[in-house]
């Protein structure tokens, strides 16, 4: 039995893990960098240890320091959260070598699934469709044409050492193949000093759909259905939902089985996610496996009623899965919106700072996983994710309408946020109709960013905005002039905090 868990993470996911531990009666140990002394995970954990300066390379990524704290605090197990060391095979190995439990898969699984080529091989062997293509370097025109012919147009030429879109060429016509290969090679050489390129099927209108799986140490594997994650900005998900509006029931069953086979092929243990690309014709291809908890796991928890963190801990403790596949059902609909500290209107520029005022939505069908509070300073060193707003509804329409209501209730000042941008997504026709793919944001750019809303009540509202601003301006003037800080000296004392009771 696991009695004490060290959480090797920060932010909302550390708080989320602490909550489930607390509900299981398991003690928690937080680690923190000097930038996170005031963070909620430090305050909510039973124990907390500083492990270094703010940069994560000097703190949250330091395996040695984390193991030292685990030893000192007599922890039984380590939960990695997501990001940081969660997909580091060495971390998994060294934890096991120290005689502790890693709440996650083995070094072997992480390493195998972390390498694109070995992951692709394993999936192919397990009968899971992968994006057609070769990883072989294209050397001449004939090879290029043969390869493209076997894959079928359109294709993408990609630099082997590539990244960030450099050395990539989309080819739609046969006569452009060789020209594009040459251009890609030249760009790849310039950018990476390596002109190797390979060819892959280009998926038009791709949907990013992933399956959650759970695998215990006794060979049992189940899936917990899919999550649709196609709404992305800068290749980062911002809205996720389940069920996917694209999948049919048959496809869902089929892909679920594939996900289970994928996990089995990787000797997987714990919670994991199989990511697929799905095109509009419902062809699906294995993309990659995430060997950890996902940011968007709460939507799955909402529709299945299963606490994934608790299942992770039970599995790591050697228990069998609490559920058989036929006991897991998908009830209702759930959507997650990620609230980032960023300026959505200014190329999603990060906006760290102090939260000066915070009002969070509540009521029916709402869940918030966050770590911020009034007075907290969102640090500049880490991910800008402040909280996740998750709604649940009987159906997709209700979940969307609830999300709108909650985004309207949500208020944060002191940092810029993605709240109004997320609100706009909820009324974008393509989203409302469930007809969207990973090109959603670029294709709906005008609708999303052109938010001037000239209805007939606008004029009144502007005048009232002017009135409220004038009152606030006067209030500030009165505060600034004179050194009396007592509201009773203020002509606007009615606005002050005096006991309402005395005015009645």
């Amino acid at each position: 039995m696991i009695k004490k868990i060290l959480i090797a993470n920060r932010g909302e996911i550390a708080v989320r893990v602490i909550r489930s531990c607390c509900e299981m009666g398991i003690k928690t140990v937080a680690i923190f960098s000097e930038a996170d002394r005031k963070s909620l995970h430090v305050r909510y954990a039973d124990e907390a240890y500083c492990i270094g300066p703010p940069p994560s390379t000097e703190s949250y990524l330091r395996i040695d320091k984390i193991l030292e704290v685990a030893k000192k605090s007599k922890s039984d197990a380590i939960h990695p959260g997501y990001g940081f060391l969660s997909e580091n095979p060495e971390f998994s190995r060294r934890i096991k070598e120290s005689g502790l439990i890693f709440i996650g898969p083995s070094e072997f699984s992480i390493r195998t699934m972390g390498d694109k080529i070995s992951a692709r091989q394993i999936m192919t062997k397990a009968g899971v469709p992968v994006v057609p293509g070769t990883k072989e370097n294209i050397l001449d025109k004939k090879q290029a044409l043969n390869t493209v012919e076997s894959i079928g147009l359109p294709v993408m030429i990609k630099a082997a050492s590539g990244g960030g879109g450099k050395g990539m060429r989309l080819v739609k016509k046969k006569e452009m193949v060789w020209e594009s290969v040459q251009a890609a090679k030249s760009e790849a050489l310039d950018s990476f000093g390596d002109d190797s390129v390979y060819v892959e099927k280009y998926i038009e209108s791709p949907h990013h759909i992933e399956f959650q799986i759970l695998a215990d140490q006794h060979g049992n594997v189940i899936h917990l259905f899919e999550r649709e994650c196609s709404v992305q900005r800068r290749h980062q998900k911002i809205i996720e939902e389940t069920p996917s509006p694209l999948l049919t029931d048959n496809l869902r069953q089929e892909m679920g089985k594939c996900a289970i086979n994928a996990a089995k092929a990787a000797n997987y243990e714990g919670a994991g996610t199989i990511e697929f690309l799905v095109d509009n014709d419902l062809n699906y291809y294995f993309l990659e496996m995430n060997t950890r908890l996902q940011v968007e796991h709460p939507v799955t928890e909402n529709v299945t009623g299963i606490d994934l963190v608790k299942e992770q801990i039970r599995i790591a403790g050697g228990q069998k899965l609490s559920y058989q596949q036929n006991e897991v059902t998908q009830n209702g609909h759930s959507i997650e919106a990620r609230i980032y500290a960023e300026d959505s209107d200014n190329n999603f520029m990060p906006s760290p700072g102090i939260i000066t005022k915070m009002t969070e939505p509540s009521g029916i069908g709402v869940r918030i996983d966050g770590y911020i509070f009034e007075g907290f300073e969102v640090p500049v060193f880490y991910d800008p994710l402040m909280s996740k707003l998750i709604t649940y509804g009987r159906n997709r329409e209700e979940a969307i309408n609830r999300m709108k209501r909650c985004l309207d209730e949500y208020y944060l000042s002191g940092v810029k946020t993605s709240l109004h941008f997320l609100r706009r997504i909820m009324e974008t026709p393509d989203f409302v109709e469930g007809k969207y793919d990973t090109h959603f944001i670029e294709q709906n750019h005008d609708f999303l960013f052109n938010t001037i809303n000239e209805d007939n009540t606008m004029k009144n509202t502007e005048d009232l905005v002017a009135i409220a601003s004038l009152l606030e301006y006067e209030l500030n003037l009165n505060h600034a002039s004179g050194n009396n800080h007592s509201p009773s000296h203020n002509p606007w004392k009615e606005f002050g905090r005096k006991l309402g009771i005395t005015r009645l």
């Binding site: 500290a341 960023e342 300026d343 520029m349 990060p350 906006s351 760290p352 700072g353 000066t356 005022k357 500049v380 060193f381 880490y382 991910d383 800008p384 985004l407 309207d408 208020y411 000042s413 709240l419 109004h420 609100r423 706009r424 938010t451 809303n453 009540t457 009144n460 509202t461 502007e462 005048d463 009232l464 905005v465 002017a466 009135i467 409220a468 601003s469 004038l470 009152l471 606030e472 301006y473 209030l475 500030n476 003037l477 600034a480 606007w492 009615e494 606005f495 002050g496």
Partner: protein, 167 residues
């Protein structure tokens, strides 16, 4: 008082105040409004039965407000004597801006690819700042000569702090 809301000028005058009940004239229109300040940021206004929950936030300049109503934002400027004086002097805010490079957000200085005395061209990158796992390049807004570098590579900076001055 002259008040600019989303670039529209309005003349606002409070004619009467009785507790929370105000009579205000905006341009030529009279408003009987019931106003209550709820918390630091929030004003509740009732006008002709409609309920307006407005968030009124000022960052640095107490003449400039960002107001939120539902999911709409309004930029407000109070044109008091100081603001009018500034405006009459000409938009030298912008001139100042052009010769001073700053980042709107706190972060860490990744690289400063120039030195004091360098001649730089408009559009040339002067400094790279990293914040929240994203790097941003800040470029010269005019041609000029680097007069002063107020930070160093690796330093942690605050938002809106002057980093580089051009002549």
């Amino acid at each position: 008082m002259e008040i600019i809301v989303n670039k529209k000028n309005k003349e606002v005058k409070i004619l009467e105040r009785q507790a929370n009940n105000l009579l205000v004239i905006v341009d030529n229109k009279k408003y009987h409004v019931d106003v209550k300040k709820i918390d630091k940021d929030t004003y509740s206004l009732l006008y002709k039965g409609k309920s307006y929950d407005l968030k009124v936030v000022s960052e640095y300049d107490k003449r400039k407000y960002s107001v939120k109503h539902q999911f709409n934002h309004y930029e407000v400027e109070i044109m008091d004597s100081v603001a009018r004086y500034r405006k009459n002097r000409g938009n030298n805010d912008i001139e100042e801006d052009q010769s001073s490079i700053s980042s709107p957000m706190p972060g860490k200085v990744v690289k400063i690819p120039i030195e004091v005395g360098d001649n730089v061209e408009s559009g040339q990158t002067l400094i790279i700042i990293s914040a929240m796992k994203m790097e941003s390049e800040y470029k010269a807004k005019k041609n000029g000569k680097v007069k002063e570098i107020l930070t160093t590579e690796g330093a942690i900076i605050e938002g809106n702090q002057s980093l580089i001055l051009l002549e």
